[in-house]
């Protein structure tokens, strides 16, 4: 009776997962537009594939060894994991039914294995004209390579799963990297050595199948890994989302206990004026945000190159434009800083915030201002003494811009 319930629950989770993946793809693809790309694309690919079976194969294939197919497969293997279909909410009631949990996990492992067999099958189907016609493999050799690749794929995925749920931090990487190197080397060597010895590959695959069975048995009897299982499942299930959002959303930040600079809450300035203290806290907050300070130094470095490269007077215009660009960024950061929720709960006077803007923006612009002044000095005067003139000019301009900015802030009363 219990297994029937676990069975239904499992397939419901699989269905939800597939629907979720479908909705992600659907959100990405506008079918009415893709109709014009997808259908011609499929027709073109079909024609190309047919050509691989019927036409003369390209000559450059002579230079590519058979083991390249194994390298391609190994790259795919690296991306694969295991989904157990356990969920955080299982802690509420399902954990009290070990049979259900085991049932779901075994099914999860089997479905993951079947999925890997299908993926390997698709890769083999695509490569089959080349494997048959160019490398002249027999059907038996093809089958042995397919079975071996599938077994290696499942075996590696389970090993990575064990490493990910048992180890964390640097230790995980110290173990995972050598293990990955060892397993992938062994896979490639076996492929290269025994690609025309199907009996040996079948024996090796049988051995792997036994080891996989033992690991599955060990896996479902493993205790104390529930939350790690849930976390690993989430990582595997959201792979497609992560891939799609790779360029549009920042990766979730790691939570650090200590800041990476000014680790002892060091004071930046001695002044006890509220405006100075507020500005100093904003400067610290800016530099401590690693992504932000990385972009800040990258932009400063690029700005130096952008000022040095064009001929005068274009470089002077570029210099001024970049100084304003830096000011715009820094003042935008300041605005975000002082309109944050935390500041709204503190009784800062409006004058303090307005005065603070001048000091904060000047402080944040100090490095770009000096660097831009240095570059402009060299570019405009083409002499060693150029920077000696332009750095003070740059600092003066920065001060003037931030003072002008304060007037603007006063008018808008932030």
């Amino acid at each position: 009776m219990n297994s029937i319930h676990a069975h239904h629950l499992f397939w419901r989770r699989v269905r939800d997962y597939l629907l979720q993946e479908y909705s992600i793809i659907k959100s990405l693809v506008d079918w009415t537009v893709w109709l014009y790309i997808l259908i011609p694309g499929l027709l073109f690919a079909g024609n190309l594939y047919d050509g691989l079976w019927t036409k003369v194969l390209p000559l450059w294939l002579d230079k590519i060894p058979l083991v390249s197919a194994a390298v391609l497969l190994q790259l795919v293997i690296f991306t694969g994991g295991v989904i157990l279909f356990v969920e955080e909410a299982d802690v509420l009631f399902l954990r009290q039914k070990p049979d259900w949990m085991k049932g779901i996990m075994v099914r999860g492992l089997l479905v993951s294995a079947a999925f890997k067999a299908v993926i390997t099958g698709i890769i083999f189907a695509v490569l089959s004209p080349i494997l048959f016609r160019h490398y002249e493999l027999t059907m038996l050799e093809m089958m042995s390579l397919y079975v071996f690749a599938t077994a290696a794929y499942i075996f590696q995925a389970i090993i990575y799963h064990f490493i990910r749920i048992r180890l964390t931090g640097i230790i995980r990487w110290l173990v995972q990297v050598p293990v990955a190197l060892l397993m992938s080397s062994a896979f490639l060597m076996a492929w290269a050595t025994w690609s025309n010895k199907p009996d040996r590959l079948f024996i090796l695959s049988s051995g792997l199948a036994i080891v996989i069975t033992l690991f599955i048995h060990r896996r479902i009897h493993l205790r104390g890994t529930f939350y790690n299982d849930v976390r690993e499942d989430q990582v595997q299930r959201t792979k497609l989302t992560a891939l799609i959002l790779l360029n549009s959303v920042d990766k979730p930040k790691r939570i650090h206990r200590k800041p990476w600079i000014f680790r002892k809450s060091n004071q930046l300035i001695r002044s006890q004026k509220p405006a100075h203290r507020l500005a100093a806290s904003a400067i610290k907050a800016f530099y401590r945000n690693w992504g932000q300070s990385k972009a800040y130094f990258q932009l400063t470095a690029l700005s130096i190159a952008a000022v040095l490269l064009p001929p005068p007077p274009a470089n002077l215009i570029v210099y001024l434009a970049l100084l304003f660009l830096h000011y715009y960024w820094m003042s935008s950061f300041w605005k975000a800083y002082i309109t944050s929720e935390f500041i709204t709960i503190l009784p800062f006077q409006d004058e303090v915030v307005i005065d603070g803007s001048k000091f904060a923006v000047q402080g944040l612009m100090l490095i770009p201002s000096i660097c831009l002044g240095f570059a402009a000095g060299l570019a405009v005067f083409s002499a060693w003494w150029g920077p000696i003139i332009m750095i003070p000019v740059s600092l003066f301009l920065t001060m003037s811009i931030s003072r002008f900015g304060v007037l603007f802030w006063k008018r808008r009363a932030y």
């Binding site: 930040k253 206990r257 809450s265 006890q272 203290r277 806290s281 610290k284 929720e341 935390f342 009784p347």
Partner: protein, 247 residues
């Protein structure tokens, strides 16, 4: 139209009003008021409990007092001697890249507290809330309870005339709750008033001088426990029972 005034009223010490609120109506959208005709007064040293069921308008009242709503017809007058208030929100808010000590420093800067006075007071609070070990840590790495303690410390640091506290007990362990109540008591002796929104009615019954009971955006009862009992028609009943009867 929100009128928010800071003024130094010179009443007799015991009767100094530190917060006077008259809200005609307020809400999150024009024409859709969430609270109507809510008036309350907090005197120096007094603890006023703002109670009511979920959605009664407690948070809207607090947001109106703090001038965080765009749609409000109200008069809010802070009249303490220092014209400072401390708001302790229900959900901890903080900067991810500033340490605990820097948050305290920022709070001190906002109220003009400087040098040794700040250091002494801040270190005392760190010791009181057992947070000295983590003074240079980032609050994002703290537990919910520790983050809440940080919010309380910031409130206590600036020595305001009035504390506006929203659900302070959520996430606090019993020891931290006790420390919070002791410090609150000390502050009341100093002359600070407290407006506290809470659902923890048994604690509220023990510590609050008066109550403002809200339901569906309106005041349904106010006064001390006896007056609340009278309004609910339940003699000798607990605040919990009165709350049940009135809401």
């Amino acid at each position: 139209m929100l009128e928010r005034r800071f003024s130094k009223k010179m009443d007799t010490a015991a009767e100094v009003t530190v917060l006077d609120v008259k809200i005609k109506e307020a809400g999150y959208e024009a024409g859709h008021s969430r609270i109507r005709d809510v008036s309350l007064t907090v005197k120096a040293g007094q603890l006023v409990g703002l109670i009511g069921p979920n959605g009664a308008g407690k948070s809207t009242t607090i947001k109106t007092i703090l001038n965080l709503l765009t749609h409000a017809i109200a008069t809010v007058q802070f009249s303490g001697p220092n014209q400072k208030y401390a708001y302790i929100p229900e959900r901890p808010v903080f900067y991810e890249t500033l340490t605990l000590w820097e948050h305290l420093e920022l709070a001190a800067a906002s109220s003009g507290m400087t040098g040794e006075h700040f250091k002494t007071k801040a270190e005392l609070l760190l010791a009181k809330f057992r947070m000295t070990e983590v003074r240079d840590d980032l609050p994002v790495s703290f537990s919910k309870g520790m983050q809440q303690k940080m919010m309380l410390m910031i409130g206590f640091l600036i020595e305001p005339d009035i504390y506006i506290v929203d659900e302070p007990f959520i996430g606090l362990d019993p020891r931290a709750t006790k420390d919070f109540l002791t410090l609150l008591d000390d502050e009341r002796k100093r002359g600070a008033g407290v407006l506290m929104s809470t659902h923890v009615l048994d604690t509220a019954e023990k510590i609050c001088d008066t109550f403002v009971l809200l339901s569906e955006g309106k005041v349904v009862a106010e006064g001390n426990l006896d007056q609340i009992r009278q309004a609910s028609g339940l003699e000798d009943a607990s605040l919990f029972d009165c709350f049940d009867a009135l809401t």
